[in-house]
């Protein structure tokens, strides 16, 4: 069984900075780590492979710093890692990201399952997994909190939908988006960490992925554009009014209504 896990490198929370002009995250120079939700997806994939036989490979789209996320995945136990990296891919929104990943998977040959984390800690859309599945034409299940059986052609999973469990059977290949609390991710071993440090990571750009249309990648392939990112101006001024002072509200309300 061949399982792929999509992982993303996200900034450590204390090193997040935005480019005020483009509205994009400044990824270069920031400290990158693997997206926390993707760690859970990795753990789920590894447990599946251990229980039912198979291998786990990690895929990431991002700048060079995304290598750190892939090395973490290797240290946890992934056998191979793939990095899709090019200026053409940068600034991608959900559709453009999913398109680039789908082109990789179409070129990769066979796979049985693709696991994704619930959402990323920086973009936080939680949509790439589902979009990717649609582009690949494979069934997908979100909010997976249990995988109870993996056979030759199907997987049985439970989805946590509004606090109810929905038992689902999906034919393979399929894509599963993993709930955050499904597992605590394993801490890498020393041996695996050192192996991961030395291991080659396969890198791909727009020219090395067959049948990739660059115009559907990155900024040019994005249906949405971030206009502005800003910290909202929190107004801390205020007045405390007693019950006998309510008439002071009237002029404020009149101005609000007029506005």
């Amino acid at each position: 069984m061949k399982i792929f896990v999509c992982v993303k490198a996200v900034p450590e929370s204390d090193s997040i900075a935005f480019d005020q002009e483009t509205g994009h995250l400044k990824r270069q120079g920031s400290t990158a780590m693997i997206n926390p939700c993707d760690l859970v997806a990795m753990e789920a994939a590894l447990r599946c492979a251990e229980a039912y036989g198979g291998t786990v490979q990690a895929v990431s789209m991002g700048p060079d710093s995304a290598e750190s996320a892939l090395r973490t995945a290797l240290a946890m136990g992934a056998t191979h890692a793939h990095l899709l990296t090019s200026k053409v891919f940068s600034g991608a929104d959900v559709p453009a990201t999913a398109y680039t990943l789908s082109a990789f998977f179409k070129a990769a040959g066979s796979y049985d399952m693709i696991f994704c984390g619930k959402h990323s800690s920086d973009g936080d859309t939680g949509q790439v997994g589902a979009w990717l599945a649609e582009l690949l034409g494979i069934p997908h299940a979100c909010a997976v909190c249990r995988i109870s059986d993996v056979g030759d052609s199907v997987v049985r999973a439970a989805q946590n939908i509004d606090s109810e469990l929905l038992e689902t059977v999906l034919p393979l290949p399929c894509l599963l988006t993993i709930e955050n609390d499904m597992y605590y991710p394993r801490i890498p071993t020393l041996v695996n960490t050192l192996r991961a440090k030395r291991q080659d990571i396969a890198c791909y750009n727009e020219e090395s992925i067959p049948r990739l249309d660059p115009s559907q990648c990155g900024v040019s392939g994005s249906a949405t554009r971030v206009k502005k990112v800003f910290v909202p101006n929190r107004m801390r001024r205020g007045m405390m009014l007693g019950q006998d002072q309510l008439e002071l509200l009237l002029p404020i309300l009149r101005v609000g209504r007029a506005g």
Partner: protein, 510 residues
């Protein structure tokens, strides 16, 4: 300045700390500054009332539990008042009131966001320089409980795993302001151009300090150093710390944690010695923390995991190991970290340890998870203490006895029916353990074991460690293992507080 808060009767939470003891008292005051604190202490002296000092009440030895009288709680004294930073040398220090918690201080330093309303112009300029700099500062002592106040940490000479690198409160407190039991305010400073008086010079003929063995990390007053060394570790009995100036250190650019497992304590000691040699050979890399955990800790984690949230995030540990060692490695860059990790693999194989089991945390999340091992075990053990009597001991063992003693205790603990955990600060000779009986019969047995071990430790010339303080619960241990220091402590205490008003029963009888 806002008025002090006064409350009578005591709120229930202020009758307890983390030791499980519950006390009693009449009133509690939360002063907001030194003047208010001084007024409280003067009033106490005038009225001849017992006074117990509290910070965040995170102590596990009952030092903050009132046994009558009034309580003065410093948790409202939370101003950060001054800051110094030299961008050329990265030297830095911060001045603050005693009620600031370690967690709060380090969060402000990490985020570089701070309420600077108390800062003068020089502090503001230094803070701005820090904000613009690339470096991140922290207060280096890392006791298990980060919600402790800095005043409480100083009073107990709190240590953490960084004691391995020689970091404790005594070495990191640069200045201190103390309200003495007689109501006078004393300031002692090691800042540039100043030197604090020696205890002998300060107290003069009023206190006999002449016979007091070398202290080190042992419990009791430190009379070998300066006045700051004396006040740190005096557990509030030499006065109430109101303000401190603390040395800050840059956070190392790269850090990782290694949790290695061993079949015997001797393997662990050999491994640590080998790793220390390797670290010395590598420029820009060093071991800054080393804690060990005996197999009893992992048995205890397995039992308590479902009821203590702090344990849930820990991995499942192998059942076959004897001891494990948590190493914190700091370096200038990742290449040095990985060079030391390669060395660690080689060292593990050389001592015959199961190298495949060793875990590594190279990012902050994994690091926090594994570093939380000690905190999780302590928190789980605290749950026991709320309902049952727990026998807690912290001792310093002569280095030549360390490995053999761990091995003997390890074998014996497996035979006892009650829960127990054994861990320690490796490299410093420190052992910390708790016996946690659950039934009446187990309690009788635990008491016998406790007494037998105390005799053994006395024969081995172990000393009572200052980790967690002596408080009330470890007085017997202190008096048994260090009789001459305990006697000297009592004499000094009687001279400082002749009426026995301040935290009676803490550290020694008044």
């Amino acid at each position: 300045m806002q008025d002090a808060i006064f409350s009578t009767p005591l709120p229930e939470e202020n009758l307890r700390d983390e030791s499980g003891m519950t006390g009693y008292g009449d009133a509690i005051v939360f002063p907001r500054d030194t003047a208010q604190l001084q007024a409280v202490i003067k009033q106490v002296c005038t009225d001849r009332r017992i006074l117990t000092v509290q910070g965040a009440r995170t102590g596990i030895c009952g030092g903050a539990v009132p046994l009558g009288g009034s309580v003065v709680n410093l948790s409202a004294m939370t101003d950060i008042e001054g800051f110094f930073f030299d961008a050329q040398t990265n030297r830095a220090h911060v001045s603050l009131q005693a009620g600031v918690t370690l967690e709060h201080l380090n969060q402000r330093l990490l985020s570089k966001k701070l309420d600077t309303c108390c800062f003068d112009r020089k502090s503001l300029a230094c803070w701005e320089a820090y904000r613009q700099s690339e470096v991140t500062l922290r207060f280096a002592p890392n006791p298990t409980e980060t919600s402790a106040t800095v005043g409480g940490m100083a009073a107990a000479n709190a240590i953490g795993s960084h004691i391995y690198a020689g970091v404790d409160m005594r070495t990191q407190v640069l200045a201190v302001e103390v309200v003495m039991p007689n109501g006078t305010v004393v300031c002692a400073s090691r800042l540039e151009g100043e030197s604090p008086p020696l205890p002998m010079d300060y107290f003069g003929n009023t206190v006999d300090l002449s016979v007091h063995p070398q202290c080190g990390n042992c419990a009791g007053y430190n009379t070998e150093g300066d006045l700051i060394d004396f006040i740190c570790g005096s557990e509030g009995t030499s006065g109430v710390i109101s303000r401190l100036t603390l040395a800050l250190a840059p956070v190392p650019p790269s850090t990782c944690g290694l949790l290695a497992f061993f079949d015997t304590p001797a393997q662990m000691i050999l491994f640590l010695a080998d790793m220390e040699q390797k670290a010395e050979q590598v420029a820009d890399g060093r071991i800054v923390g080393a804690d060990f955990f005996e197999a009893s800790c992992f048995r205890f984690i397995r039992r308590m995991r479902s009821s203590v949230s702090a344990l849930c995030a820990l991995p499942d540990f192998s059942t076959g190991v004897s001891v494990s060692l948590w190493l914190e490695i700091a370096a200038q860059n990742e290449d040095v970290i990985f060079a030391l990790l390669e060395d660690s693999l080689e060292c593990l194989k050389n001592v015959g340890a199961p190298a495949d089991l060793a875990l590594v945390a190279t990012d902050s999340r994994e690091f926090s998870r594994l570093q939380g091992l000690r905190h999780g075990i302590t928190e789980a053990a605290n749950l026991f203490s709320y309902e049952k009597k727990v026998f807690a001991m912290d001792i310093n063992v002569p280095k030549y006895e360390y490995s053999a003693l761990i091995a003997r205790l390890s074998v014996e603990m497996r035979q006892h029916p009650f829960e127990c955990v054994l861990m320690g600060r490796a490299g410093t000779g420190h052992l910390s353990f708790r016996l946690m009986p659950e039934t009446g019969a187990q309690q009788v047995l635990a008491e016998q074991v406790h007494r037998r071990w105390m005799r053994q430790f006395t024969d081995l010339r172990c000393e009572c460690a200052c980790e967690y303080g002596v408080g009330r619960l470890k007085r017997e241990l202190f008096e048994t293992l260090c009789p001459s220091r305990a006697a000297a402590t009592k004499r000094i205490r009687s001279a400082l507080d002749p009426a026995g008003l301040f935290s009676p029963g803490v550290l020694c009888d008044s």
